[in-house]
Symmetry: D2
């Protein structure tokens, strides 16, 4: 994973599913965010990225890691509709928030996809607790590596917490059993 | 993963493969250790645990994570031999160190397996940089979860390093792209 | 597989893809037909039945076995559209004929699905060279068994051919290497 | 599958498992035989060919198709032993007959493997009801295709039966539901 340190652009979503109110990255600050861009008609999205998103959602504590799906409609625009996306989410039993990327009047690439410079679907973006992009990958990704990267990010200090305290926190990860107090 | 904080017992190995000299957990202190106990004739070991061990070995930096295989012969003793284990390692192209657990004159359970109270094969033990057991699981384990747990453990301070320095280190994980300097 | 001997009802399709002209079972008489009913939003259809249909199409000679897909829209009617089905077929690189089951003004179950009494998607119907239903299964089906059943059906005599001749033909299957002439 | 019409050489086995008495191809005449050559330390044998052999055994009627395993020890001779093979069969819950190919005093290739000209493990040989080789493949094989080939072979006339009668038999396969009597 190459070092990427750009601040994650805000999401632009025209319709949200699985959430009572619109989500923003700003509102998720302090949590690690796994942003999974997909399309219903993209074979690798359906066979790999969406099931992986579900596993991420099932594996991590919601207070540590937020999974956000993004339907980045950049092709076959006529095929997609809100009823389709709603039925898809129902049939695949997806429980994490999913946003429909905002259509762009000036071209086929929707706004969020454009801001992130995504190359296609599936794309995975990992955003740290401070809102920085730490990974941006196109195509299927291995579970072990993604798990490791998210696991590492969860150990970083929560912004706003006292520096020394957060360092201590980083040494006592919640994702694994706590070590005994240092001698 | 339940919190487990016992100090990891030292390995007892009668023959090592893929290493020039005998390994000890003491010599691996400072690194996260993934100890993978298996048997050549155990279907879940061969279908799942050994390939996962290889993926762990391929995914993490050796300076961060040491994968150690342990052939924990607790049944079918007559079937196993050094030539068998050697040929197995060759055919499966395994590159990480693998030890043959020391036979126990007093019963079928070899010494390391006995010390750890392993319930069978495959078993996975994760040991932190300070030599504490942080996970001990029997049976197949999911890649995403194991990746997350190892990834989190890699972010813990290396023992012996200065406290403030290790805190800084914890905030700048090697497993993921470095964040920009905090404002 | 239970013995089923009903004559296969004719297909009722409102739109065909991957074929120059509408297909009918009557026009396929003399070939074994694998009729695969699916829906784009049905997880088991997409993960298992559609890939299996493609493998059937790739494995058998078209002159022996015709694969026919049927989009049996019986739920989420609002989600489906011709552009969706067209884009799906394009993205999944499907080359065999696929028909959109005729909508039924009197209820949610489309006409072909209704005639066959299908219980849902995916469903697989195997029809022999004489137009008789020989298998009707709901849910995922194992490749080995389906292969065996289709392979056996291909060995049956083509209707209309002379009885003695077709018997000889049955003894010299095209799907496997020809045996030497009997002594 | 290329047409192969050689008469299948007799098996040469030094030890049999899962059978009360030694098997011979001669004694299996009248049945289709799936001969699966494997080695315990061959990754593709264990991951693919042995599970496929088990599926063949589970799918077809024993009176139609005989699955015969052959441990074709052509390398790592020191690693293999009768206790190893016995424990392997126990752990993998294999129920079909398995023979240990007869060691060859003149070289590493055991006798049956040598007679068939097998290129390695896994190898699959399909033998028809009359004892002719109809397929001989090296490496993993697809379930659908293997199922089709075995399914087709089961439809061939049993040798010794009356010609007209066997033709009728071929038109009434047991592997699929019987068709109604021809009009």
């Amino acid at each position: 994973m190459t070092a990427i340190s750009a601040h994650a652009p805000e999401l632009s979503v025209q319709t949200w599913f699985n959430t009572d109110r619109p989500l923003s990255l700003a509102s998720l600050r302090g949590r690690v965010v796994a942003l999974v861009a997909f399309q219903v008609l993209c074979p690798n999205s359906i066979a790999m990225a969406v099931p992986q998103a579900r596993r991420i959602h099932d594996t991590f504590e919601p207070s540590d890691v937020a999974v956000v799906g993004l339907h980045a409609t950049f092709e076959h625009h006529q095929a997609y509709s809100l009823p389709l996306l709603k039925a898809f989410i129902h049939e695949y039993r997806l429980k994490f928030p999913i946003g429909l990327d905002s259509a762009n009047a000036e071209g086929p690439i929707p706004h969020t996809m454009d801001r992130y410079g995504m190359r296609g679907t599936p794309s995975l973006v990992l955003i740290d607790r401070r809102g920085q992009i730490r990974k941006h990958a196109f195509g299927p990704a291995e579970d072990l590596r993604i798990g490791a990267e998210i696991g590492a990010l969860t150990q970083e200090a929560v912004p706003g917490a006292d520096a020394i305290a957060s360092a201590a926190s980083a040494a006592q990860p919640s994702a694994v059993g706590r070590p005994p107090a240092a001698a």
